[in-house]
């Protein structure tokens, strides 16, 4: 029997989707091992969150009413205290930006191995984690040869659990060591910079690092103009300062759901795909036939954008 402790996430008063995905991953895992699934919800309106988290497969929800928003120092201490009390075999967390900010410290503090960004979990005596390497070009399995482990799961890889259940809800008390809270969240800000809301657009022409030079951007802008589309981009284009931040599609950029999304010279990294996989029709132009973007594309052109885009512009002029 192996118990699982899954750590939920919320921001600005709302539980994040990954919390519900963690419930699925966690209950699958205890389904194999016959243990209990514990959830922890730390900070914010924990009672309201606990109501929402009363889901099928969850045995106990531990509420820790400490602070309003995420603070990694508080999370690490709370999770360490819960771990000591519950002795779970596995601690599951989200491979989110906040996950990146606390999960490694949890594993280090508890002196247990950490496997991040899992896309699959199996237990056949030992935990076996499937993950990707080399920008999704290679997949691997990693066996954890230890009694305990911490794992972060990739967002949107597990279906969220929606079915209601009847877990016990227990308030968890622990003594926060204030002297070890050495960071303070002072606010949030939305990124802006431009005048266009790409999440409103019906047709997006999106450009990635395949464009190579800033001056080549004009070519893709011309295509967008010819199609009556809006220009968006992957992250490197914004990092280079070639387009304002609010043109960025992806995990840390905008989530878009246009009718048509044309991905030009974009590899399809998970963090990019997170922002555009809901598009109705996805079209990819890429020189690399194995680029991950083709896995989610409806139409593909394996070819050089510098050949294809001018031809496409001509078709619409």
């Amino acid at each position: 029997m192996s118990d699982v402790l899954a750590i939920t996430e919320h921001r600005r008063g709302e539980l994040r989707d990954v919390s519900f995905e963690l419930v699925t991953a966690g209950s699958d895992l205890v389904g194999e091992t016959g243990g209990d699934l514990h959830l922890a919800v730390i900070g914010g309106d924990v009672d309201a969150f606990a109501d929402e988290l009363a889901l099928d497969g969850v045995d106990t929800i531990h509420t820790v009413p400490e602070g309003d928003e995420f603070n990694h120092d508080v999370y690490v201490q709370a999770i360490a205290a819960l771990y000591e009390e519950l002795d779970p075999t596995y601690v599951l967390m989200g491979n989110t930006v906040n996950g990146l900010d606390y999960a490694p410290a949890v594993a280090e503090q508890l002196d247990i191995p950490l496997v991040t960004d899992a896309i699959g979990l199996q237990n056949d005596g030992n935990l076996v984690v499937t993950r990707e390497m080399y920008a999704s070009k290679v997949e691997s399995t990693v066996e954890v040869d230890a009694d305990h482990a911490a794992v972060t799961i990739r967002s949107a890889e597990w279906e969220p659990t929606e079915a209601a259940g009847e877990p016990a809800v227990e308030a968890f008390d622990f003594e926060l060591d204030e002297s070890r809270v050495r960071s303070r969240v002072t606010g949030f800000e939305e990124v802006g910079g431009g005048d266009v809301d790409i999440s409103d657009a019906d047709v997006l022409v999106s450009v990635g690092r395949g464009i190579e030079e800033e001056e080549n951007l004009e070519l893709v802008q011309n295509l967008a103009d010819a199609l009556g589309a809006t220009l968006s981009s992957s992250r490197p284009i914004v990092d280079n300062g070639w387009l304002p931040k609010d043109r960025q599609v992806g995990q840390s950029g905008k989530v878009v759901t246009p009718k048509v999304y044309l991905a030009i010279g974009i590899s399809g990294a998970v963090q990019h795909v997170a922002g555009m996989k809901g598009a109705e029709t996805i079209i990819a132009v890429n020189t690399d036939p194995d680029a991950p973007i083709f896995d989610i594309a409806d139409y593909g052109i394996v070819g050089d954008l510098f050949d294809v885009v001018p031809e496409l512009i001509e078709q619409f002029e």
Partner: protein, 264 residues
């Protein structure tokens, strides 16, 4: 003040490649400085330029080959470099995060930096965990996925922005000493100048074995065992347009028109 910046030489896989056991066969790999580390190096060098008496030291865990890549960091303004390697590391298929943190902790002990900068993740194994693990191991404060940094050295605080999902940034004050994991876009990494490249030739890259760090082989023993490596099955059910660029574009144009695109 001393800034320690961790850098990693990462392998990129070519378009077509073959596997050799648990590895991508060597001839299909190209090596480069990890994208996220380039921004961390730039941030460290800018701190040195904006403040008096700042030394920037880079540390890498990597075989001798990686010195070529590390020289790029030296050419961009890093003062000196440390390269940790040992025969014991040669046989490790997957260096787990805990092992990396232990190796780097020993370097921190030796160097006693005031600030450590790392990349958010390395693009080869993509664990995204080294910086925060290290912070926890050396009892520094930390912040992950930092895309703006305003250092108040006298006040002992770093004011950072953390880039959350969905275009939201978190503003956080972090007590120093700290480890910050740096996100791309925080700055514009410079190109190495010819002068910088020349100067880098004479800068020190100090090799350190486990014993130099007071560690023994047990430190690289991993609880993680790489059991399989394979090419993912393509899930692609995309319709591909064939022919030359003109023909492909014409077919795509037809599809786009069917979807009402371009019909002004």
């Amino acid at each position: 003040m001393k800034v320690l910046v961790t850098v990693k030489e990462v392998a990129e896989v070519e378009e077509d490649f073959q596997l050799d056991g648990l590895h991508v066969a060597e001839q299909y790999l190209e090596y480069d400085l990890n994208e996220w580390d380039e921004y961390a190096v730039e941030e460290a060098v800018q701190i040195a330029e904006e403040n008096d008496d700042v030394e920037v030291v880079s540390v890498t865990i990597g075989p001798e080959r990686s010195e070529e890549t590390i020289r790029m960091a030296l050419a961009k303004g890093v003062d000196r470099a440390i390269r940790v390697w040992d025969d014991a590391l040669d046989d490790v298929d997957l260096l787990d995060v805990g092992a990396k943190a232990r190796l780097l902790s020993a370097v921190v002990e030796e160097e006693d930096p005031d600030l450590v900068l790392t990349g958010v993740q390395a693009n080869d194994d993509s664990f995204g965990a080294t910086g925060v693990s290290l912070a926890s191991a050396i009892d520094f404060e930390w912040a992950a996925v930092v895309n703006a940094l305003d250092l108040d050295v006298d006040g002992g605080v770093a004011n950072v922005r953390r880039e959350l999902e969905g275009g939201v940034e978190e503003l956080t004050e972090v007590d120093l000493p700290a480890v910050l994991t740096i996100q791309t876009g925080i700055n514009e990494p410079r190109y190495a100048s010819l002068r910088g490249i020349r100067q880098a030739q004479s800068k020190e890259i100090k090799p350190m074995a486990l014993s130099d760090l007071g560690l023994d082989d047990a430190v690289v023993e991993s609880d993680l065992v790489l059991t399989d490596v394979y090419e993912p099955e393509t899930e692609s059910d995309a319709v591909y347009f064939e022919g030359d660029a003109g023909e492909q574009a014409a077919e795509l144009a037809t599809v786009l028109r069917e979807k009402g695109v371009g019909a002004q």
